[in-house]
Symmetry: C3
Subunit: 363 residues, 3 copies
């Protein structure tokens, strides 16, 4: 990701902190939290962190632990400093920490303080996401797509399985439903299905079962990219709509389960990694609908082994649609190294002529 | 795939229709149906479509819907026109439409008219195969192998899972056995085990539980490539033989389940993507035997989650054996862009000297 | 793998046999057995084979059958002769033969003489590993990592599933526990937990449930690389320690199940494919801990379908960590074509300057 000095955005001299010998690490870690929702901006990260603390100080602290371990591991292994400074080695660590606490706590909503064993385990898992991020970035390099949250998904799955079997890590069966099957069917859709469902969908990206935190996170996105915030809302809303039309259980919609992958797909395709044009928008909405269905698919597939979907359907659909987009001349995908905000990507695309051929000159 | 004006083949001025502004789309769609069995020929597609209508007008119509949506999506997204004109964006759409109807109908043999919800779902699934085809072709490009029916398999699995959980799409448990486990053991092998089993194996490629349709499909293949038709028969026959020798359930053999992947492997390796020589033939027969065993493997693996194998074992074995073949100098694999019919591939190979080194000059 | 004329190692004019028209095949096959534990040395292979015969003449014979079929298939298909001569087409065949006998025998420890049906099946499986090795080597080529034992894991899984369903191959449910779940919990750790567990971990690499055979195999490794033997011991010991700390079942530790993947990861990362430096050692130990946890993870994942983990976690962790290592300038990974012994790799690295930049000049 390039510099985020986006024209027309409120920029508070971010590079001062990014380059600072002392505060640099804080800046990179806050960006790491922002990168979960594609915002290379420490203020976004700070607001999102506040939204987590608003829900539960435990999740807030675990998020800090995860992003710090992920980023510090990258520094210790001397990874690419540009990627470190943009927070790209931190966001998967933050997510895996949150997931391991969320799915081993009796109370999913607030989480529980991890035991020493689990804490050690979380540190290893967060460090492993840094290695997997480097690995997947290399594997995906030739295809010009980003690793997205796949390091978190892979490490999350592998570590979650094992955690359930070690005597010294106490973990009951998952307290939280992870599949539409586990909700009561036939409940009527009401107004809170919508406004709580949309807020929760944004919150679930960070494992926050709190719809107010979800709307705070939207604000955190909006300070860096208003299109990004709009896309998150569009993704979560369209997902709820599709789920309602196809008769999904009300509880799963209200908990935001149908929408958190869809919101991420909407943000990724809607401007960050694909230039936002009319055709790009239709392609994005198509991807949101497919992501919503596939969340149900993968949830049902994983249910017998008790695994949560995490953000796997977002990653799979976004990868397939972005790699596919390079074969369609009506769309203009953006390689990870050039992607900034939807606003800036679109501005550069138009400045370069606004046609597919201008893609070549964007670099 | 290149032009299919194969010397010694009955060619009815195909390019006239392929280039026609009005009839072009019909030509490309018929080729799409033919491409399921590697025949870039509208007449093959037409005969196969007739074989489907012979069994059930529902399946025939769904096949048309799928191939049209897949091809039209590619046109709307401005995909490579050469690939569109060869029907390569249509065959996965046709298959996914057939699969979604077959596995949601109470009567597998005839299928049921889809509800509006299911019809919308099929349209999205068929459109998604076009995107996944583009994506997989890019991913596989460096390795010079074709995407085969993997877009259908992936989209089919993902969409089938979800379809079973939406209230507004009525779908009982799969009416059709999908694994050898579900057949009675100990039934004696009789003559119909063979002639019905071989015909059904060809039919099952298109989800047709009708052995007479299967033999019609063979005729559709033969009008474009007699070697191709022979390979389909050899694949289905050898699969039945292997299943009998290893004591597989009679019902599964008679239903053609052991043979439909094997028939596809036989066609793909037996001349289309590998020059047909004596060594190539032995390699192909080896692949047919392995595909037969692996169908049983994958069927048993997928049974607990109620998923059908689709054509996954054909794709896996063919990919591994074709990519592997590039490392064996006794074999001459053919990159997708140069592959036509077994007859034409072999003619060009012999014209170029008939040795491995001549592979370089085939392009 | 290059020549193994390692400075400071006892070399008995190996190339004499490797080039010999008559004894060459014996030399390549023995190297193939050694390559399971990364030793390109016929004497290592011979000692390991003796360790197998010490446990059971059946396993010893099957190991010979597998390595011979794998190597002969490569010769028949005219694969790269350098790879054949280094035994790289044999080791996956040996492993898949051992696995198919081990998991179809009533007595896991000694194995049973295979029926004719199973013997045919083993020959096909071993031949298939040669094709999959070629395929995976091509797929992994751009990323400069080796196929490791993945051909064995893939073919082993696919063939094991099917074998359980053919009437003419007698196979009960797996006699051997394949997951920590299947062991009694709460048994106290005692001294034999350690010395038997470590020996068994090495033995389990070759499916030998015999801790004395395990220590013989260590000797086989040590004749070619003392660092390699040390790494195998460190890997197995650290795995047992991690399992004990996290409260794993005593029986699974004593049977070596937590340790066989970890020992392989320790050898692969500890000098063979990554230059052994202090940072490299810490990276390796991290990988050993993660491999140990993930063995438990994958075992629990595969248990419902009754599949053993085989060496899948070793391959997954080693691939991710090696591909990731190319992105970390504190580490020096070694492409497969240049990897020899830990001693020789380190010597060349130091001779070239001992810094990351010297990696370029190693080729």
């Amino acid at each position: 990701m390039n510099l985020d000095c986006v024209a027309g955005e409120p920029v508070v001299n971010q590079n001062y902190f990014q380059d600072h010998p002392l505060f640099g690490f804080v800046d990179w870690s806050l960006r790491g939290i922002g990168q979960v929702v594609f915002q290379n901006n420490p203020l976004s990260g700070l607001i999102i962190l506040a939204a987590l603390f608003f829900n539960s100080w435990i999740y807030g602290s675990i998020c800090i632990l995860g992003v710090v371990v992920g980023t510090a591991t990258a520094i210790a292994l001397r990874a690419d400093s540009g990627l470190i400074r943009d927070g790209l080695f931190g966001f998967n660590g933050a997510l895996v920490g949150l997931a391991l606490v969320a799915f081993t706590s009796e109370n999913f909503r607030t989480g529980a303080v991890p035991s020493l064993y689990l804490a050690v385990y979380i540190v290893f898992a967060a460090a492993m996401t840094t290695i997997v991020f480097s690995s997947l970035s290399t594997l995906l390099g030739p295809y010009k797509v980003a690793a997205l949250t796949m390091p978190f998904v892979l490490v999350g799955w592998l570590f979650l399985f094992a955690v359930l079997k070690f005597d010294n890590i106490e973990a009951g069966p998952l307290a939280k439903p992870v599949s539409p099957d586990q909700y009561v069917e036939g409940v009527a859709y009401v107004l809170p299905t919508w406004y709580m469902g949309i807020g929760n969908a944004i919150g679930q990206i960070f494992f926050q079962d709190n719809w107010i935190s979800g709307y705070f996170i939207i604000i955190g996105i909006a300070v860096h990219s208003r299109i990004g915030a709009g896309m998150a809302l569009i993704g979560a809303t369209l997902a709820a709509l599709v789920a309602v039309i196809f008769g999904a259980p009300e509880g799963a919609i209200r908990d935001g389960l149908y929408g958190y992958n869809a919101a991420l797909t909407a943000m990724a395709l809607g401007g960050v990694f694909l230039v936002l044009t009319w055709r790009g928008l239709i392609y994005t909405l198509f991807g949101v609908v497919v992501t919503t269905w596939l969340w149900a698919s993968v949830a049902i597939f994983l249910e017998p082994i008790g695994m949560p979907v995490l953000t796997s359907t977002f990653v799979i659909v976004t990868w397939l649609m972005l790699i596919g987009a390079y074969g369609f001349s009506s769309l203009t995908p953006i390689p990870p190294a050039e992607a900034t905000t939807p606003e800036d990507n679109r501005r550069r695309f138009l400045a370069a002529g606004g046609t597919r051929d201008s893609k070549v000159t964007m670099a």
